[in-house]
Symmetry: D3
Subunit: 244 residues, 6 copies
């Protein structure tokens, strides 16, 4: 794979954008986090509900589900409002299914009991990486909501088994780079999203060739870079949640 790529942002290949996680941003929600990856801003909230979906009733198990949306002018060109069109796009459904799976992978649904946590991820500003910011921020919102339940004694302990965070990698201008922004993403030869746990387990990999197929070695490099990015994101989550 190729030599020194000059990234539009001036970042090094293995350098993430500046990340800010701001818990408690949404006044009314049981848990929330405004997640910023560079210019990208995603507001994540966690809402606790006392009833579970039909297929879980009387099982003693809980559920975590997610919805995702973009403000119409979060994007460079205005995007049609999905509520006005009357249906969510395939991309939206795909992303919200991914967020839900990622969070459930670190939640002890039995310990949660028959409760549902609804995560809402709304993109205020989009500049690439909205789904990875959404997953990373949603974990903070989820943690906050569950800690409240545990704090009130509703749950005997926090029903979380690990942390979870996500980052993208891609092949841009012949080089493997970490955490694509929009300028890179719209122009990448390949694009991969990695969802990993705090202890390094793989929760989800979605890698897609955009302009041409890629090789095993490219993929291995992307996975390596992803691990370094996730390491930092997990540390940022710990910091804002006051863990360790």
């Amino acid at each position: 794979m190729a030599g020194p790529a000059r990234r539009p942002s001036g970042r090094a290949a293995a350098q993430m954008r500046e990340v800010h996680l701001e818990p408690g941003w949404a006044r009314h929600a049981e848990g929330s986090c405004l997640a910023r990856f560079g210019e990208t801003q995603v507001l994540c909230t966690a809402s606790i509900e006392d009833r579970v979906p039909f297929f879980l009733r009387k099982t003693g198990r809980g559920w975590v589900t997610a919805e995702y949306g973009m403000l119409p002018r979060s994007t460079h060109e205005r995007t049609d409002r999905e509520a006005a069109r009357g249906r969510q796009s395939g991309r939206t459904l795909e992303i919200q299914r991914l967020i839900g799976r990622s969070l459930r992978a670190v939640t002890d649904l039995r310990a949660l009991g028959e409760r549902q946590i609804r995560i809402d991820c709304d993109v205020l500003v989009a500049d690439g990486g909205t789904r990875t910011a959404a997953i990373t921020g949603s974990y903070v919102a989820l943690h906050q909501a569950l800690a409240e339940l545990a704090g009130f004694g509703v749950l005997p302990r926090l029903p979380l088994t690990d942390q979870v965070a996500a980052v993208s990698c891609g092949i841009w201008n012949g080089a493997v780079v970490l955490d694509l922004d929009y300028a890179e993403d719209s122009n990448a030869a390949a694009d991969a999203n990695f969802v990993l746990t705090g202890s390094g387990g793989i929760v989800e990999i979605q890698a897609t060739a955009e302009s041409e197929p890629f090789e095993d070695d490219d993929f291995a490099q992307m996975l390596d870079l992803a691990r370094t990015g996730i390491h930092d994101l997990v540390a940022a989550q710990k910091s804002v949640l006051g863990l360790e």
Copy 2:
């Protein structure tokens, strides 16, 4: 009408919440404003399009239209996402029609030419008065977008004939009060929204009895209070837009 009401916020009857208008909040939009009325936060953006709705083609006239939405957890209890339900509620449609009418009332649509300005108002935090904050902030976003068109010489002059702003009044605990917050709104005997121009013309009045009919005198008091509120809002718009 009754004596000294102790408002939940401690405000005087004729006292508005603190108002902040932050133009340019949305990086990608031609015009934008984050409007805060106390805790209520509405992000307003203006997007310029080169084509007009079907009924205006080849008329030489432009259009201003608006869409409104609430983030699911902008509210005290989570509200279903309209995109997921597949339809916008009657309340949503009513509010976005009101916003569009209010802005068109101060726009010279002929001077705008065959262009459409799409306003998006998205409620980030709801604490009462979202529609009045939306109208007041949208004017700033609209002004910013049109000033850009004029600045680039696309338009010979700013196609705005006046300012426009909105405020609510209500009868709460027996007294007429200005700028209801959620604690008052959910509990008011009557509720009225006033949309006025900078020069004091009436653009729209929507007054509704909630628990029982009200009298002419109540209405007159509400209109008086509204004028004082609008006076301040128009001044705030001027200030952030650098007018005068």
Copy 3:
């Protein structure tokens, strides 16, 4: 405000169209009224249901709700059938919400008990003022249905606290006029709908500037005219319902 306007219909400024209220028109409904304001014809029916919306279950309180529709060729040009398009327009939703609120304002929902009255207002011929005819006629239909319940001893008394009726005013050709027909409405500088009770309380005011903002004095004149119109409508309701 300006001098002698020659209205298209030849009416004086303060003159309503001829009003006919025909109770019992719809053979199958518990209550009904065919309301005619000049050429405008709206069929209003009231249907009694034994269950209430979810949010009222086990509260002991009832509900009144309304739906509104136009026959496709009630209008000058054919309007698309909303059932065929698969969604109701914002205008439709706005009007049916208004009708529902207006009727609830004079209904003692606690005395009604856990029942729902569904009002249907369908425009057979549209010539302006369909929403005001709908409200005025619906009151008659509602009264008829509730009187039947009371007559059968299901309810100890009629759960109505007052009458309610509606009329429009507008600024047309420089003058304030009462009860706009289509020729005026499509051409008015301002347009206001007033919903008042039989005893003169204000239930709802919706005033909108069409071509330019209007002044307090215009508004005051519109409210005065409205009161005279409502006076006649309330008398017509009394007459067909055999009250007094």
Copy 4:
């Protein structure tokens, strides 16, 4: 087949309900007819449009299409409004397709030119036989609209090749009867709708066993009765259209 059935309405087996066709009922439509078969009332309108569906563009041929709806309280029990549910029922679609086919069978679509006639049939009161009343009345509305086009010289002659009308027959209480009303229809062993031309040609037959299969002889009796009914309906159409 069985002996003397006592019909709920007291009619003889071969006796239709009283039929009234009132052309021109709908003030704004190019053609219209209020069709009454006993208590059943269907308002039929014909609207002329200058463009044809996509598949007919540049073919020189026109089209006749129909839509059907029921007012929510046209029925004994209130029926949900299809516009509110967001979709038309299978029954509605089936009936409107039948009306369209029936009218096209007597229309010279080439002579009509690239125009579309939209028929709207709205049931004001339902007491059985709404589709047959709709077809019979729609022919009158269609004739009126086309006669106007011919009268204005837009068309050189009336592009109709014959009349068309419809009636139902059924097996009720063991006997074959003509023109079922609701009391019979909801209780019939079989039910058939016949659409015939003025000159006796068959346009459509839809015969359905309700509770048990029927025999060839039953069917033959139904077809015979239908011919007598259609004979009267065609005469009624001629009379109100001033033909002969």
Copy 5:
């Protein structure tokens, strides 16, 4: 009616296409049949459910319902996928209502008990006569599913009162012919579908003039031909179900 028509397939006027019924085709369904009428292939499945529609709860009676669909490229030109368009066409709804009625006509719904059998008919290849193949094949699927219930002792006996099958006839090139294929169907002067029981009772007749009205005698010939076709279809059903 006219003389010797040379059918596109070379068949005689009274000759059906080759018919194959293959029960048990769908591995997972309680009952199934792949029905082929010449090139036309329809996969019919029967699924048993333990609950009935709302209107039958606590009545002790069961229900049979049907759904119909076409694979997008079952047709000569690709047809839009109804799931992607978000609504089923009027034709689809009409056909599935017909299939359901036809099967219920030979099912003892009381003997079935509070169970619902859902029939799915999916057209794999369309070459005319898909609805008649669907009805004929669905009977086999239904029989298979119900025989399983009876075999397991869930039902004391097979709750079927007769067989049911369907075939089309038409007027093509001036002659009455049996079992239209696509080349004939798209070109027929009239088209009729007959649903008959094994013992010859009439369940449903749907006869439609396509290009011009037809006469009683044409209809009588069609009914005669249909009887011969149904005779063969009923025999084919018996054969594959091992009856007699």
Copy 6:
């Protein structure tokens, strides 16, 4: 990772199910293939259209898009028909987006010219691996359709740059296994789909932890197994297409 797993089907860990690709199955389509992976059967068709989506008009480039559906009773328990529910599920949209991307990765869209190939993948029987069968079979259908275009001289050469096929791997009962069937899939600890080209390039990887996160080594084993499976699938495609 664990020792010798006894797979439900008795297969070895690295053993695929029997694969059959039957080109030309769908009589009317320009290209088609019935793809069977063991019990799973997916019918894939390719339809050529002369117009491209809006965003490609006048670019000289073509497009390949895909739709996916399941027959309601292709599954063990009946699945609701998406056409009847009025919307496609997130899973459906996700799969059809994947199929489209996979095929576009080996299509020279510029050489295709302004044409669209619509792929339809309909699952007749589902027993795990429907998306991988769909991709593998769709390539055959696409090749067949494009070869026809090239054969007729519409295209100068086949606009395909490589083959493409897909297979799943998973962690089941502690072991990494190839080509999961339903019994394994519903019970796997992790699940990954690999889309590779004939020359071994990676087009797409989607790996998901079901019950707990997995490790890099597990992933590496899955990728290795996938390569052996794809090798066989590519050979099967070559064989039925008569390549080499």
